[in-house]
Amino acid sequence: MSGLWISKELAEGIRRHGAETYPHECCGALLGRDSSIAQGHDAEGKAAKREVLRLYPLVNRRDDSPRNRFEVTPRDVMDAEKAAGAQGLEIVGWYHSHPDHPARPSEYDRDHAWPWYSYVIVSVMNGTPQEMTSWRLGDDRQEFSAEPMEVRQGAAV
């Protein structure tokens, strides 16, 4: 699978959000472009390219259990979609943090995941953001595959 491209700046933005909301989980949308759904793109034989070009930080709606759960409501999704559309972008995935827990998707993550989206998880240990990884749900929903994250110095738009 080809990787998820993100600038160093935006990767830092995700880590910063995770540090800000610690010990609660943070969440947000990843806005960008994916060649597999771009209009007029012929992806035959070519690996799809996916880039994150903006973050859309959100409020974790699980205020009943924010230390280990996050939720983005359909209204939030629609707001993120509108913001993406206004900038000629798409939602390509979502990010959230795991306070004091590794950056690996849980059973709960898998149970609630959508295919196609990139799920970026940042581990925040004692308030300090550490490992950050990206995951894609398999088409059969059985498991996530690790998606390589390519962190670049500057964003190429």
């Binding site: 259990s65 359909p74 999704v77 979502w94 827990h101 609630h112 959508w114 196609w116």
Partner: protein, 92 residues
């Protein structure tokens, strides 16, 4: 009764990259049934193994959440728009 079903981005790859489909239907349940009959790979992402709509799959008829109408029995008429909107959830 032709109803337009809006397919959310994460499911478009399973529906020939289409962002919507026109299907004959008199209820929401029928519209989703027609959609999944046409695009079988959608089924497991919309429904659990016991045939219930997954909790993070939200369905609207013309901007009204079917949970506040008659769920999948909600009637649809010609020209109605059925939207499938994700919720996103997870956690450690």
């Amino acid at each position: 009764m032709a109803v337009r079903v809006i397919i959310p981005t994460p499911l478009r790859v399973f529906a020939g990259k289409k962002d919507s489909a026109e299907v004959p239907a008199e209820t929401v349940g029928e519209a989703l049934g027609q959609l999944t009959a046409q695009y079988g790979d959608l089924r497991k992402h919309l429904y659990t193994e016991d045939g219930k709509l997954r909790s993070f799959v939200n369905v609207y008829v013309n901007d009204e959440d079917i949970r506040y109408l008659d769920k999948e029995k909600t009637p649809t008429k010609d020209g109605d728009v059925v939207s499938i909107i994700p919720s996103i959830a997870g956690g450690r």
